[in-house]
Symmetry: C2
Subunit: 193 residues, 2 copies
DNA sequence: ACATTTCGCATACCCTAGGTATGTGAACCG
DNA sequence: CGGTTCACATACCTAGGGTATGCGAAATGT
């Protein structure tokens, strides 16, 4: 298989991303040394800096990838339901389940806010999973299933709740009881039938 | 004012803590250089290592201090009310208000989880503010004001929600609307009267 | 087809900053 | 007043992120 330059470039970049992701997930950002990531892929540190402007740059790329996957997973789980309310619940459960994935846990929930800065992290979050949540809440409010209200603060609250809960589950907390507690919280938002 | 050795030691330690706190809050953990903290206090890096085993050690001490203060602030606000329900609401509002303090924001909410590791951070959190929340919920459940249920998962959810909300407010989100959204969430937990 | 340019990556180097090992002088203690 | 402790300074080590430059093969133009 003769690779032309574009293919070669893409292959190296992908390999660095994959290896970086593995290590960031397993060891945490600060314990990862860039030269070792490169070496494991069969290139040198120079190659890494040819593809990413810094260690944080590689991390950022990994974060985007993981975010995107997470958003898709959540959306696809939600879309398996017709009912708006069940869509919300399914999305939330999918998010919590995703928290057990070490890549999501360590990379997205623990390291990303510090490494990228909270502002940038939030912007990325907004593009993927957080936006879905806000949209779901908007639909529910429009349909009269929950009270009409500003959606953004509520979305932030729920997003934070689930981030924390996902970490708690990943660390050994009982997923069942979290889902139940979350269901109660959400149920409390419903307008009386 | 002639200081004896114990007093001198305490004074230096306090000065390092105070200066560290200022810088950690303003610049974030990674941008703070230990030697500069020491220099600003009028000692050298060696002194810092005489008092703390590492940069993370100084940070840990700062985190404990800030945590303790936060816990006290929340508890004292809550204790100004007789009604259990109002205690919960007051505590939550006090927590959200505290999030505007850069020390709380950057040190506790952004950096602490990564620097100390999520496990240790959670343990510290447990000792201070999180414990108060769990106790409040237990009391409310016992009094029949909210449904009888496992308290820990609910406490984690609410804690996460408020952490995130505090950050959001600190970054410019509207505090009023967050408080309203939180009130709705909490109100949904009440048993029908 | 051959000269020229591009570019993906390697090599070699710099420098910051966390951490350590050891020295020193003043406070303490018998 | 001699010895000990201890708070801190000085000097040094080292890892690792970042940079400057070189090289050889693929791409490109004539």
């Amino acid at each position: 298989m003769a690779l032309n330059r574009a293919e070669q470039r893409a292959a190296t970049r992908q390999a660095l991303l994959a290896e970086g992701r593995r290590r960031f997930a397993a060891d945490g950002y600060h314990h990862v040394v860039l030269a070792e990531v490169a070496e494991a892929v069969g290139v040198t540190k120079g190659a890494a800096y040819h593809h990413f402007d810094s260690k944080a740059g590689l991390f950022r790329a990994v974060v985007c990838e993981v975010q995107r996957e997470l958003g898709e997973r959540v959306a696809s789980e939600a879309d398996r339901h017709e009912d708006l309310w069940e869509q919300l619940r399914a999305g939330c459960r999918a998010f919590l389940a995703a928290g057990t994935d070490p890549a999501v846990r360590q990379i997205l929930l623990v390291d990303a806010p510090t490494v990228l800065g909270w502002d940038e992290w939030r912007a990325l979050d907004e593009e993927s999973s957080a936006r879905h949540l806000a949209e779901a809440l908007t639909s529910l409010a429009a349909a009269g299933i929950i009270a009409e209200q500003p959606v953004e603060p509520l979305a932030r609250l729920l997003s934070g709740a689930m981030n924390e809960a996902a970490l708690w589950i990943a660390r050994g907390g009982d997923a069942q009881s979290v889902e139940q507690a979350l269901d109660r919280l959400l149920a409390g938002l419903r307008t009386a039938p």
